[in-house]
Symmetry: C2
Subunit: 343 residues, 2 copies
């Protein structure tokens, strides 16, 4: 199985996120099989967030995961959150609010248990759903590339999230695995709510697409994999373009506020845009609210014969062109208080 290829350091704590649905129940049971047969030597901790979306049913799910973990002999950590209230308070939709709450919970749990790795049971089906949802929104390569099998949880920590089932197991495989081993599972509360676009993609769109290609999840997942590879190649090339233009991403305090315009002008448009996004990200700390239109405006500045114009960015920060360079002035990254930008 694919999770064997994960290099898990011996006897380290590993968090596995278990909703009680077939996917995560199969993942937990599979990990248990590897641990009991001495093929895997980690301290497994089961984490479950009760989203409180289906009242007593949600509570019963939580009790079931807790009981199953106890039977297998693993520590169980459960928390509850009222996702509906959270969504109302934050202005996010239910699905966004649920995802943020879940990732926050997993990060906190990992930190408190000194775990460096979180395992999540996303399948091929989840990948196909993610790609389709992003396509429906008009995402670019990033979105169509779907979820990564292994990635850092955020840029600030060394916490890794891995999805051992993502590239090969279908949801139906996890159901068969549970049945074959005589293990019960629950209907995940997040999977039964038609208010979620994802659930409608699963229950309406994918069944229709299967009438064109019975292996459509595999097809979409393969496309996403190719795009992930393209994406890394482009990111690396854009980073090199930024380096040549006078900005070194790895030493962020050197001169990143100014970059040469000449190389950016002759670069391929896709690379230029990526390089500009990376440059803004270094200077601002993140790319929140930066849209394609802002990058286009900076490109216009780059090609404009009139010097002295500027582009204002949402949330503060300005890009100007002076003496053959683009300059970033304004909003500083949140975590770099000693740094000054030169105008």
């Amino acid at each position: 199985m694919a999770w064997r290829s994960l290099e898990l350091a011996r006897n380290n704590s590993v968090i596995v996120a278990v909703s009680g649905g077939a996917d995560s129940t199969a993942l937990l049971a599979g990990l248990d099989e590897l641990i009991k047969s001495k093929k895997l030597d980690v301290r497994l901790i089961v984490a479950h967030l009760n989203h409180k979306l289906r009242g007593q049913v949600s509570d019963a799910d939580a009790r079931w995961v807790s009981e199953f973990s106890r039977q297998l002999g693993y520590q169980f950590i459960g928390r509850s959150i009222d996702v509906k209230r959270l969504a109302k308070r934050t202005g996010n939709n239910l699905e966004q609010a649920a995802r943020r709450a879940r990732y926050d919970f997993l990060k906190k749990t990992a930190t408190s248990r000194k775990a460096k790795l979180i395992l999540s049971a996303h399948t091929l089906d989840d990948q196909a759903e993610t790609v389709l949802l992003n396509l429906l929104r008009g995402s670019g390569t990033d979105g169509l590339a779907g979820m990564e099998p292994v990635r850092k949880m955020d840029s600030k920590s060394n916490l890794i999230i891995a999805r051992p089932l993502l590239t090969w197991a279908k949801r139906s495989d996890t159901e068969s695995y549970c049945r074959a081993r005589g293990i019960d599972f629950r209907v995940d509360e997040m999977n039964a709510n038609e208010a979620f676009a994802r659930v409608r993609v699963r229950t309406q769109v994918l069944p229709l697409l299967k009438t064109f290609n019975p292996k459509v999840e595999e097809a979409i997942s393969r496309a996403a994999e190719i795009l992930r590879e393209d994406n890394s190649a482009l990111d690396a090339a854009a980073e090199r373009l930024l380096e040549y233009s006078g900005v070194t991403l790895s030493s962020p305090n050197q001169k990143q506020a100014a970059i040469r315009a000449d190389l950016l002008r002759i670069a391929q448009p896709a690379l230029r845009r990526r390089a500009l996004r990376q440059w803004l990200s270094v200077n601002r700390g993140d790319l929140r609210r930066i849209e394609r239109a802002h990058i286009s405006a900076i490109e216009n500045l780059l090609f404009s014969p009139k010097s002295g114009r500027l582009v204002e960015l949402p949330g503060g920060g300005v890009v100007t062109r002076k003496a053959g360079c683009l300059h970033y002035v304004g909003k500083k990254p949140e975590r770099r208080t000693n740094q000054r930008t030169h105008t």
Copy 2:
């Protein structure tokens, strides 16, 4: 309108492909408007291929396009083909056979009339359908990038095909335009046949996707545009990697049979694979029957510590590794008979 931005040389012959459907009728009427108001100075020739898919209705379509062209004062060139018989003979499906026949007809017509430009009335809707069909097949960046607004008809000629409506006009816009101008149009025979996967994407998939996002065609078309830009940046980077590795695509007779392995090994996987495909294409004349698996096999050869192994390619041709280089031996490109490969 977008076709104004096409640089059309004065008084040149231009072929416009007209099926009689709303899209191509609107394109023809719009071009006519530009010509009559002296904003466009070209010699327009209307081309129509009767696919004979709906018997007398198909014949009536052809007569209608001929009559409409005559009314507007343009030359009409019509041909008939029995697409069903052609599909049976060539082993292609109906849609592939129809497309090939249509493009052959347009190319021949352009050549015989000394036209350098063919205009086709593909819309945003067609683009969304193309991207979805390619996604259903598991295509990579190339397929998901959809149709190009302007491209060379093939690598051997200077004939250009342009799609002036592709990036902005919806099918419904072309219908409104025809109605507003009091112009009748036909139901394109290719658009009414549920045997075509494309027609089912149009009548079943897109209406369902619209319940998620009413502007889904625009969203998909935007995604395709981003991927087209990424695609050109990656192609250019791969071409440079090949150049550095000792192969110059622009002078194809110099040494392209051997390339250095070292640079390919350290390159980003996505670039390496593109470079290998370009290299094979130069040596073989095309990439027919070359799949991802063959490229992976060549990558294995590249990283294998044992020298002397080889990869056999379908349809002839072998790649070997010797003295720090990959060598292509065998099947020569069809149109380069003087060339020898060194083993």
